[in-house]
């Protein structure tokens, strides 16, 4: 038990095995991989010799897989030394992995619903350098996993530059989401709700239309001969719309239920110099990120959430730097948050940086023209190309120009940037407005880019790159070239004073 290891941290700790249920879960994995296809083969071709052969083949393959799993379990050992986690594994080739506790980025304790029933959990350890999760202890007893995580956290804090007072670090609750919050989060998670509402309106309109046209009663036996072509088309359209609506409503309800179950009991708190989050009803997730690993904060305000003053908050941490699969990225986040509460949260997460009083500045006015050209030029080009050959009906395409101009205007208005005391802000997007807040001292590289079109307008895009492994990057699009250059230079000076 790790608790014994805690008692004598200086001595080389005793190695531990994984929980015996590891075998059970390995067996389940193997069963899923091998047996289910076999069963499917049996059911699919019961009277077929080939099917039976395949089944037997698959069945035979499970035996070595099971033996391998048992051998892996038998040879797997982990132990916690004073300042490192040591993992021995390997059946023929022995492998020892030593993870210095100070290098640990993130410790995750995860449970699927089945693991939850069995009282076991998976512990994942991530470091900055690795492209994948550095160590997976799957599975441990729940109590063992929790104790090991606590112990790793404590030792990492000791190994860090500024050890916290041992009276226990102060806990600051950043957010706790109620079931109602989560329902709102799910309801506004995607545009399904909005589309459903529009579709419902459309359906109502169609119903009104069909009612106004004198239709015979909709007895299917008499429907076909009696209705006019228009009536049938309308009924078919109404049916399709109703079906689409039903699918959307189901999707919407699932999205709400998914958020309520998946994020149940979502809690984000600051414990000393770390962010802890935990959530989940069936499966349970707990993780912690040291604040100094936070690279940037991203605020996502979708079109649907903006009217309600709601947003999602993503806290970007250092991911896999060297190529690799972008891991996590936003390892800490808040699925839903009131925009009014964001500045205080950001201040707490970015350790004192205060974005509350910063006024976001617009990008260059020419950006609007550039967007307008981008959104309308294809339409104009198509119209000009098609109309002479295929008739004036294609002039209807010009109807797309006003929406294009509208989108261009919105796109321009939602772009913005600001430089505050110790951080830079970049904002983009109309449908999903994303605001990046990047601390100066987390900037990795800076880039100024100009497309040929931007050069024509004397504009440039400034990209602020951080070590966040997540999607996207902080970009100030379409600044006047001189302004962009000045910003580039001033940020470069601040990064490396």
């Amino acid at each position: 038990m790790p608790s014994e290891a805690m008692a004598a941290p200086t001595a080389v700790a005793r190695p531990h095995r994984l929980h015996a249920f590891t075998l059970l879960f390995q067996a389940i994995t193997i069963a899923r991989a091998f047996l289910l296809p076999a069963i499917a083969a049996v059911l699919g071709s019961a009277d077929d010799d080939v099917g039976r052969m395949i089944t037997i083949g698959i069945g035979v393959l499970t035996v070595p897989a099971l033996v391998l799993a048992i051998a892996k379990y038998a040879t797997f050992r982990y132990r916690l030394n004073a300042a490192e986690l040591v993992i021995d594994s390997g059946i023929l080739v022995h492998r020892r992995r030593i993870i210095p506790v100070a290098r640990i980025q993130n410790i995750d304790v995860q449970q699927t619903w089945l693991q939850r029933i069995c009282g076991v959990a998976e512990l994942r350890v991530e470091t900055a350098g690795a492209e994948r999760t550095e160590a997976v202890l799957s599975v441990l007893g729940r109590d063992v996993a929790d104790a090991l995580r606590a112990e790793l956290l404590a030792r990492r804090a000791d190994a860090g530059a500024a050890p916290p007072e041992h009276a226990g670090p102060p806990v600051e609750l950043l957010a706790r989401l109620s079931v109602r919050d989560l329902a709102v989060a799910g309801a506004t998670a995607n545009e399904a709700g909005l589309v459903a509402a529009i579709l419902a309106g459309g359906l109502q309109l169609l119903e009104d239309l069909t009612r106004r046209i004198p239709l015979p009663d909709l007895d299917p036996t008499r429907l076909a001969p009696a209705t006019s072509g228009v009536g049938v088309a309308l009924v078919a359209a109404a049916g399709l719309a109703a079906l689409a609506l039903a699918i959307l409503v189901i999707g919407w309800v699932l999205s709400i239920a998914g958020a309520m179950i998946g994020y149940y009991g979502f809690t984000l708190e600051r414990v000393g110099d770390e962010l802890h989050k935990r959530y989940g009803l069936l499966g349970r997730r707990e993780s912690s990120v040291p604040l100094r690993r936070v690279q940037a904060v991203r605020i996502e305000e979708s079109l649907l959430r903006r009217p309600f003053g709601l947003a999602a908050l993503k806290i970007e941490t250092a991911g896999s730097a060297a190529g690799g699969r972008p891991r996590g990225g936003a390892e800490a986040f808040l699925p839903i948050v009131r925009v009014a509460n964001v500045p205080a949260l950001v201040e707490s997460v970015l350790d004192g940086l205060d974005p509350a009083g910063v006024r976001i500045r617009p990008v260059d006015r020419l950006a609007r023209r550039r967007l307008a050209i981008r959104y309308t030029a294809p339409v104009l080009f198509l119209t000009a190309a098609l109309t002479p050959f295929f008739g004036t009906g294609w002039l209807l395409l010009l109807g797309l120009v006003p929406p294009g101009l509208f989108l261009a205007d919105r796109g321009y208005r939602h772009r913005g940037w600001a430089v505050g005391d110790g951080f830079v802000i970049a904002r983009n997007g109309f449908l999903n407005r994303i605001t990046w807040i990047v601390p100066e001292h987390k900037i990795q590289t800076l880039h100024l880019r100009q497309t040929p079109f931007q050069r024509r307008h004397g504009l440039a895009t400034l990209t602020v790159d951080t070590a966040s492994g997540g999607r996207g990057e902080a970009r100030v699009i379409d600044l006047a070239r001189e302004d962009a250059e000045a910003l580039l230079e001033s940020l470069a000076r601040r990064v490396a004073p």
Binding site: A321, Q444, T466, E473
Partner: protein, 136 residues
């Protein structure tokens, strides 16, 4: 260079292959001419556009003929530095310097077409002045 030569080959191929249709032949001819012109013009333009500047606290790279880009890499953010040489570069006595940072977008930046000795000197210099605070 590689792109233009590929296009050139495709153009010539199309020229030989579609000998019959006058319109297509004209198109292929035009494409080939354009590629020839590009082959004559682009490498020189790219070469002129490429520059690097080693400043007190950072390294500035400029590149691009149509799409301009300027990158600033603070010395402190350099993780490690490589030199690389392909077969063609070895034959020409050239090398590339590749600079790695922890950044997610500009994780690796390249300075191509340096004389091999210069590249090695630059690599060693960057390696000594680089690093210190990777901010990760």
């Amino acid at each position: 260079m590689l792109l233009t030569s590929t296009l050139l080959a495709a153009g010539v191929g199309a020229l030989l292959w579609t000998g019959t249709d006058a319109g297509i032949t004209a198109l292929a001819l035009a494409a080939t001419t354009a590629c020839l012109a590009a082959t004559g013009f682009l490498p020189a333009a790219r070469y002129r556009a490429w520059s690097y500047q080693l400043r007190e606290r950072d390294l500035v790279l400029r590149r691009g003929v149509l799409w301009h880009a300027v990158s600033v890499v603070p010395h402190s953010r350099i993780q490690h530095v490589d030199t690389r040489r392909g077969p063609l570069e070895r034959w020409l006595g050239l090398a590339r310097v590749v600079i790695y940072t922890a950044g997610s977008v500009g994780g690796a930046l390249t300075i191509p077409g340096l004389a091999a000795t210069d590249a090695e000197a630059l690599r060693d210099h960057l390696a000594t002045i680089g690093g210190g605070d990777d901010a990760v």
